[in-house]
């Protein structure tokens, strides 16, 4: 696009972000502060992910953007348009065809392969934030590996509800060291973080933090021996493709309590329907 550099950000900014990313990859799960820039979309709408994608995107990369697992949700459409406009890259909805996938709140159902990069949009990167609001304190807690409070919080959930009441943005421990917020993905997706062949990058624009999970890194969801981590399951199957193993969105179909369940990952669902047909 005239008047703007390739992928919107200037080259110095992109280099600064790539350096921060390298640091993030070198210290898996560690939140690296970076000089985040204002983007032409609002904070909270994916500016962190957009900056990361802009920094790593090459002219021949194929980009996929999803929000809630779907390619056609409004914000996914908006971000995909943005990169079509400022980088002129090819885009796709097929998980298997994409080099870079920017996502909000989901990890695709189709397993990722080596060489792919998954970029997460992160609202609040600090997993300890809702226990300790001060950034000064939480940085110290990470430095000292002082994560007892997180287990206390999970224990209090069990004491009160009988279950760990965190259903999304479920905290994980990366490579046995840093406790990390996997962004608000449902805990259903947490097992996909572990040992994934793809590089996973996390960008929080407003908070000016980024972090990474390198390929094939050990990622454990926090739990207790007597209350092991478990993911959501449904009594239903997808009403469109019949999948009994994907994350389902509930869709209200009338005002009489009628509802159906469909795959949140639209590409996965369509591919399955194509195969069945």
């Amino acid at each position: 696009m005239d008047g703007y550099n390739f992928a919107y950000l200037d080259e110095q900014t992109k280099r600064m972000i790539r350096r921060a990313l390298l640091k993030g990859v070198a210290i898996p799960g560690y939140q690296v502060p970076f000089g985040g820039r204002e983007m032409p979309m609002p904070y909270g709408w994916g500016t962190g992910g957009v900056q990361l994608t802009a920094s790593i995107l090459g002219a021949y990369d194929i980009l996929k953007v999803i929000d809630q697992g779907a390619d056609d949700t409004t914000n996914a459409v908006s971000i995909r348009h943005f990169f079509q406009r400022v980088a002129g890259v090819e885009t796709t909805t097929a998980t298997t065809a994409a080099d870079v996938i920017q996502t909000r709140h989901r990890i695709p159902e189709t397993p990722l392969r080596s060489g792919q990069i998954l970029v997460f949009q992160v609202p609040i990167p600090e997993p300890l934030r809702f226990i300790e609001p001060s950034e000064q304190e939480t940085r110290l807690m990470h430095a000292l590996e002082e994560y007892g409070v997180m287990h206390v919080k999970l224990y209090e959930d069990i004491a009160r509800y009988g279950h760990i009441a965190t259903t999304y943005a479920y905290p994980v421990k990366v490579d046995g060291r840093y406790v990390m917020d996997p962004s608000p993905i449902p805990k259903f997706d947490n097992p996909k973080l572990d040992g994934n062949p793809a590089l996973m990058l996390f960008g929080a624009g407003r908070e000016k933090r980024l972090y990474a999970i390198p390929p094939y890194t050990r990622v454990e969801s926090l739990d207790f021996e007597d209350h092991p981590f478990e993911v959501q399951s449904w009594e239903h199957t997808c009403a469109l493709c019949g999948s009994d193993h994907s994350y389902l969105d509930e869709v209200i179909t009338d005002d009489k309590g009628g509802r159906m369940f469909v795959c949140s990952d639209t590409d996965y669902c369509q591919t399955r329907r194509g195969e069945v047909a």
Binding site: Y8, D10, F34, G35, G36, R37, E38, M39, P40, P42, Y43, G44, W45, T47, D67, Q68, G69, A70, D72, T73, T74, N75, A76, V77, H81, R104, H105, R106, P123, P133, S134, E135, Q136, Y161, G162, H163, A165, T167, Y168, A169, P184, I185, P186, K187, F188, R206, K208, R209, Q232, A239, L240, Y247, L248, D249, E250, V251, M260, V262, S264, T266
Partner: protein, 374 residues
């Protein structure tokens, strides 16, 4: 049968067309010119420039127009443009003492060298709606004195106190200030970084926090030592010529608060300072900023931290309207996946609750009447 929502692209395009149409309004009336906004709605333009931290009255007016008068949106538009600009030079520190004064008042002395100059102010106007403006009456031109007030004649009031040692002295230690537009926030922040964040903080937010200090949540006994408004020269040092040259003038508002004194066994008691600075005519903002700046010095000055305005991380992390409006508005984005997770858990918890309740009711039915009464 319901098929997952499609057509987001078309919906977005249509929404934007409708928005542009609304913005233009009634085609029978002339379109608002950007120059008119810069000329007649200059206080809005000044606020947009300040909070966007970019001095460009024309583009700020454009942003205001494009945002249909939504100041927060206009700030965001201009801020997003600012981030794409190259850095050509870093200016020398501005010398507000040599400001070409339009307005300058002090609440601490009745008469001051250079005089009290009210300038174009809303102070002392009676807030009566002027129906003549509704009827489009002509406004008589103001008489402007030809002779410009000499800069030397308007010394900074706090410097006069300084001569007596009554007010703490600000000392330039020569260190390179942080740059909040390039470096991520690193708490605790020094005063230079704090002032930068306050300078582009949301006016309403700072006003509320400043006000809270006056009502007892971290009082600091402020006096408006001096408020000045006018044009200041911007100079840059050109290395090739080894010379400092003026590249233009910008309008600034500055507020210096004089606050309660501190002192210790070693140091004699002195007034302390709070400082506010903003682009254009932004007096309320600079006063609020000065109050909050002073409140944030509580730790440095050994004061108890009892009010929200004194908590640096809280105040600074939430001051930026671009940050805040973005994150609040993101709640409009789809959250069906997370919501589904919560629904699932809630239903499970309710099922378990109902089962426990049923079990409890069962044991109650078989219990003896006496037990039940207790």
């Amino acid at each position: 049968m319901y098929v997952a929502v499609k057509g987001g692209e078309q919906a977005i395009a249509n929404a934007h067309r409708w928005l542009a149409d609304r913005r233009r309004g009634d085609r029978d009336r002339p379109e608002l010119e950007v120059a008119q906004i810069g000329d007649q709605l200059r206080l809005a333009v000044d606020r947009v420039m300040s909070e966007a931290s970019l001095y460009d009255p024309e583009l700020a007016a454009l942003a205001f127009k494009q945002a249909s008068g939504d100041l927060t949106e206009a700030v965001f538009l201009l801020r997003a443009y600012r981030t794409t600009l190259p850095r050509l030079a870093v200016s020398e520190p501005l010398d507000t003492a040599s400001m070409r004064i339009e307005r300058r008042i002090s609440a601490t002395y009745k008469d001051i060298p250079g005089g009290q100059i009210l300038g174009p102010t809303y102070d002392y106007t009676h807030r009566l709606l002027d129906f003549l403006q509704l009827a489009g009456a002509e406004v008589p031109a103001a008489e402007i004195r030809e002779e410009v007030t000499e800069a030397e004649a308007c010394p900074q009031i706090l410097e006069l106190l300084n001569d007596e040692g009554l007010v703490e002295q600000e000392i330039d230690d020569g260190s390179e200030p942080a740059d909040i537009t390039r470096d991520p926030p690193d708490y605790p922040m020094d005063r230079a970084a704090r002032l930068q964040m306050l300078a582009r903080g949301d006016e309403g937010y700072l006003l509320a926090l400043g006000y809270s200090t006056q009502r007892g949540y971290g009082r600091n006994h402020p006096f408006a030592g001096e408020i000045r408004l006018g044009q200041v020269e911007v100079e840059i040092h050109v290395d090739e010529w080894d010379e400092t040259i003026c590249v233009g003038e910008i309008a600034l508002s500055e507020c210096q608060m004089i606050n309660q004194f501190g002192g210790s066994r070693e140091a004699a008691p002195q007034f302390t300072r709070g400082y506010g600075l903003a682009f254009g005519h932004n007096e309320r903002k600079t006063m609020a900023m000065a109050l909050v700046d002073r409140a944030l010095r509580a730790e440095e000055l050994g004061e108890p931290i009892i009010g929200p305005a004194q908590q640096a991380e809280f105040v600074l992390a939430h001051a930026d309207s671009v940050d805040a409006s973005g994150f609040v508005s993101h709640l409009k984005l789809p959250h069906y996946v997370d919501f589904q997770s919560e629904l699932d858990l809630l239903r499970r918890l309710r099922r378990e609750h109902a089962a426990r309740q049923a079990e409890l009711d069962g044991t109650r039915d078989t219990a003896s009447p006496q037990q039940e009464e207790r």
